[in-house]
């Protein structure tokens, strides 16, 4: 357990020292202000414990770059943590022991989980909206039917009323004309 925390601390320190480096190499990485930095910084986000949320806009636009994290992450780590790289090379079938492997798969799993959760949330919203739309359609339909039935009722009442009136007055129909 301790090793995991230490490792993260090391990573944090290394990445912090990475930044001044990159600013010196402005010739080699001219897109510093635009694209590439965003990639690695975002991936760093993914690899940190999830108490910070990635910026919402980049989540969709950088979806393509998200597929690349493992490679970049490995290269970052090998640059600074040689011992850990050796360990990861031996991993193979040893399962999830401490070190490099959990880093990558943790990032992967987290990413996977995020995607699934996002999809699930989208389905949930769609479900809700579809139901609401259906109810709205029903309301329109029921209002129309209600109006129609009321009109019908009115007409029937009027027809009945006039019939009543004629019946109240006694009239001879088949008697002689006196």
């Amino acid at each position: 357990m301790t090793q995991v925390t230490m490792e993260e601390v090391w990573k944090d320190i290394n990445l912090a020292s990475l930044h001044p480096h990159r600013q010196l190499n402005i010739d080699h990485e001219p897109v510093l202000s635009n694209q590439t930095p965003n990639k690695s910084i975002f991936q760093d986000f993914l690899n940190k414990p999830l108490n910070q949320e990635p910026p919402p806009s980049s989540s969709s636009t950088h979806h393509g770059s998200l597929l690349a994290p493992p490679a970049t992450v490995i290269s970052l780590n090998t640059h600074f943590i040689d011992t850990h790289f050796d360990e990861s090379a031996m991993f193979g079938c040893f399962g999830k022991k401490r070190g490099q492997d959990s880093d990558d798969s943790r990032g992967d799993r987290r990413h996977n989980r995020m995607t699934k959760n996002r999809e699930s949330a989208a389905r949930s919203r769609a479900r809700k909206q579809a139901y609401i739309n259906e109810l709205e359609l029903e309301i329109v339909h029921l209002k129309k039917e209600n109006a129609r039935l009321k009109r019908q009722e009115e007409q029937l009442k009027m027809a009945e009323a006039t019939q009543h009136q004629t019946k109240k007055i006694l009239q001879r129909s088949w008697t002689s004309p006196f």
Binding site: K116, R123, A126, Q129, A130, Y131, N133, E134
Partner: protein, 175 residues
Amino acid sequence: MSVNNRDPLVVGGVIGDVLERFTRSIDLRVTYGQREVTNGLDIRPSQILNKPRVEIGGEDLRNFYTLVMVDPDVPSPSNPHLREYLHWLVTDIPATTGTNFGNEIVSYENPRPTSGIHRIVLVLFRQLGRQTVYEPGWRPQFNTREFAALYNLGLPAAAVYFNCQRDNGCGGRRC
């Protein structure tokens, strides 16, 4: 009454995942017990143990219709690799009548979703005439679009869907 983007069938993904866009041309009324099925309604397995009453509109008894009932979210909506599961198939239903008057090619099997909230879709197709429909042979991995193409059924005449999850599910919220 053409389908717009606010149509529940579109918003709920039924048009897209199961069906093409279509214009409803006939009335379809599906009732489980006292409950009429309207799009997106939440119905639990215990309420749909037996086949529903299905009444169709139209005017001419000489027009025949086919009813298909599928679950596109099998085994779970997040991983529907067995899409679609065929629950019921009835053909030769005369207009103005119901499934009782048709030919039950595949018997009704009540949905029992185990994982997630599944959409259960009922689709009505108009047949060109009385026709022989061969039962698919198995229920999973049914494809409504292909089935319609195979029997020249064209676009759907009507459709309705509801949501189904296991009886003690929490409706998608944290329990």
